[in-house]
């Protein structure tokens, strides 16, 4: 890069003089992952071609956003992830959130549900209703959405391995409410690849898992045109300790794998691509995060248009949900977390997110209380209505630093994606532990920086105080597990077991063949076959994945 004479002159005079008198705080300033941050960014750093690289919002390559007027038209969806204990308790929390201005639901399921175990399975011990709501059968789903009109709200469900079953239940509940499948709106996470590397709720091996996913793409393409069929998630990869670049690279590499699997299954690109959505983390490094979202959008647009040859501009758009970084929350001086969440939420909005969940201040200690959840939602509302950042599109565009960082993240992520492909693609890299090792190394370095005091976490390794008062915490009643098991028994006692058996046999036959599994799954859930029973049928055909250690 050639530096202008003015810059060199400034460097020799003002800068040199200043630094010799007031040395800088550190020898080297870096992002998480070691990328060096320059003192100053100048026009020479951004060698961009405005139309090719930045362009206009709502137009390829979408660096500045997916809609032409962004939040001047409609604000992002304020979507708070919630769910705990029983379906009835969670239903109450959803209605509370809807009454307080949340504009979309986001369901947290407990771990047994996410891993396809009924509440009475031995591995479910201690986990029922803990990190989300327990769903064993359609009966629980009916309670969960009682008096919530599914043709009006949009619902995001954090469900991966058993996504097909939970979607089937959702469709069945909507139908009972009188809403046909084409009216429902929402998203299922349905992103199995990141489960193998970061989140852990896998059931089946990669190949049959990818079949279930493409079955969903196909069925939804025909039946639920307004439903996002997948939320390709970098969130958990980042939470597991990756850098921003790794988050983008691994997420988009997973995206490429899903697109390829769908193409291999004979689906038409422009038909399914418009329902792909993404999910990213918002960490505290505000400007790096903004650059990350912009870089991801541009890189995905190029992948879809250039590499896969998608024709419809909607197929090129990376639409994403954001959640603030849970792992950044401290258990000490928890009010500081409100400030962290504000910075992170601001990053998501300045980066053009389509929807946002803000974490609550007490989540390093337990599930959030109702009051903490309200403050988290209010944080979004203050940003939306008071901060002014939503009044113009992509306000940080043209910042020398942000544009340079956008370019850098795109280039580095693109190089990492190529490396994965040179090593045989995502599935091979997961099986060989390549991706897991990269994430682990980044996590280890980051934590070591904190341990050595090179990275300061306010209230944790600096500015500590003795805290005397403890905040009130939300506790899940331990009786929830017994109650849930009792309800499950009741459902099993009151259904037509011959019909259930027939449906499960039909499902097994379909799984052995190669037809779409959605219709037999829907038939089974409607007969109140349990999630565990349906998953067991598929386990018997597909086998189970076990992590190599």
């Amino acid at each position: 890069m050639t530096k202008s004479p003015d810059f060199l002159n400034w460097q020799e005079n003002e800068l040199h003089k200043s630094i010799s008198r007031f040395p800088e705080r550190k020898e080297k300033f870096t992002n998480h992952g070691g990328g060096e941050i320059n003192r100053l960014y100048i026009p020479e750093h951004i060698d961009d071609h405005y139309t090719d690289d930045i362009g206009f919002p709502g137009r390829y390559p979408f660096t500045r956003g997916v809609q032409p007027s962004m939040y001047r038209g409609r604000l992002w969806t304020m979507r708070q992830y919630a769910g705990f204990s029983t379906a009835a308790e969670s239903n109450k929390r959803f209605r509370y959130l809807l009454d307080h201005g949340t504009t979309g639901l986001s369901i947290a399921f407990d771990l047994p549900t996410q891993i396809g175990y009924d509440s009475d399975h031995s591995m479910s011990t201690g986990e029922v209703g803990k990190v989300g709501v327990a769903i064993d059968s359609l009966a629980d789903m009916e309670t969960l959405f009682d008096a919530i009109p599914l043709d009006k709200v949009s619902t995001s469900m954090t469900i991966n391995s058993p996504a097909a079953m939970l979607l089937a239940m959702y469709v069945a509940v909507a139908e009972k409410q009188g809403a046909s499948a084409d009216k429902i709106k929402g998203t299922i996470q349905n992103d199995i690849l990141k489960e193998y590397v970061a989140r852990g709720t896998y059931i089946f091996p990669p190949k049959p898992s990818l079949r279930l996913i493409t079955n969903i793409f196909q069925w939804c393409g025909e039946q639920t045109p307004s439903f996002n069929t997948i939320s390709i998630s970098g969130y958990h990869i980042r939470e597991a300790g990756s850098t921003a670049v790794q988050e983008v690279a691994f997420t988009l590499a997973n995206g490429i794998t899903y697109v390829q699997a769908a193409l291999d299954a004979g689906l038409e690109l422009d038909h399914f691509a418009r329902r792909l959505s993404f999910f990213f983390n918002a960490s505290s490094d505000l400007l790096e995060e903004v650059a990350k979202y912009r870089a991801a959008r541009r890189l995905w647009a190029r992948i879809m248009k250039v590499r896969f040859g998608a024709k419809n501009p909607t197929s090129w758009m990376l639409r994403f949900h954001t959640q603030t970084a849970g792992s950044s929350l401290a258990a000490q001086q928890i009010d500081n977390n409100i400030v962290r969440v504000t910075i992170q939420a601001l990053a998501a909005v300045l980066g053009g997110t389509q929807s946002l969940h803000t974490n609550s201040r007490d989540e390093a200690l337990s599930l959030p209380t109702e009051e903490s959840v309200r403050t988290a939602l209010r944080t979004q509302q203050v940003i939306a209505h008071e901060s002014g950042v939503a009044e113009t599109v992509d306000p940080l565009a043209g910042s020398y630093y942000v544009e340079q960082l956008t370019n850098k993240i795109e280039q580095e992520a693109s190089a990492l994606i190529s490396k994965i492909e040179d090593n045989g693609g995502v599935v091979r890299c997961i099986e060989e532990g390549f991706i897991q090792r990269q994430i682990e190394n980044s996590a280890y370095e980051y934590q070591q920086e904190i341990e050595r005091g090179e990275r300061i976490i306010v209230g944790v390794n600096k500015f500590e105080i003795e805290e005397e008062t403890k905040p009130p915490l939300l506790r899940v009643d331990p009786r929830v597990e017994d109650d849930q098991v009792a309800r499950l028994r009741e459902v099993k006692a009151n259904r037509n077991s011959d019909q259930v058996e027939k449906c499960l046999n039909t499902l097994k036959a379909a799984a052995t063949g190669d037809t779409n599994l959605m219709p037999p799954i829907i038939a089974a859930v409607k007969e109140y076959a349990t999630l565990g029973e349906i998953c067991d049928v598929l386990r018997s055909v597909f086998g189970e994945y076990r992590e190599g250690c």
Partner: protein, 139 residues
């Protein structure tokens, strides 16, 4: 450190897949001279206790971030006891409210560490637990 190399097991009981903390502790212990076996995620208390006995470890570290600690940590202690290895100390970590810490200690968990604890403190606890176990066995 003494010249004894302590062997420890880090386990993830239950269904929680968040193992960033467990992996960090495993690696930090390794860097401090311990021999570490990590079970991987989603293990039952029985599996963890069996592995601890089979590998003849001097301490077990457990991590859970899902709230299931209250059932699962004591279950591991119990399984170790049943296997005749009740002298292997169990240390726990995760998102664990204060009031649960007392309860877990009553049920035989040696120590509990929550988010933000400096790693040196955790390593010191493992060293102390292992050396106590070593002395008991050789007494």
């Amino acid at each position: 450190m003494s010249n004894t190399t302590y062997r420890v097991l880090i386990g993830k009981p239950g269904l929680d897949g968040h193992d960033r903390g467990a992996k960090f502790i495993a690696r930090a212990l390794r860097d401090n001279g311990f021999e570490v076996i990590y079970t991987g995620i989603r293990r039952s208390p029985e599996e963890i206790a069996a592995a601890a006995v089979q590998e003849d470890v001097a301490a077990v570290g457990l991590s859970s971030l899902s709230g299931a600690h209250i059932r699962l940590f004591p279950a591991v202690v119990e399984c170790l006891r049943k296997a005749g290895a009740g002298d292997i100390p169990v240390i726990g970590g995760g998102v664990i409210p204060d009031e649960d810490i007392t309860l877990l200690k009553e049920k035989g968990v040696e120590a509990i560490f929550t988010p933000g604890t400096p790693v040196d403190q955790i390593i010191a606890a493992f060293t102390a637990a292992c050396s106590k176990h070593h002395e008991t066995r050789n007494a």
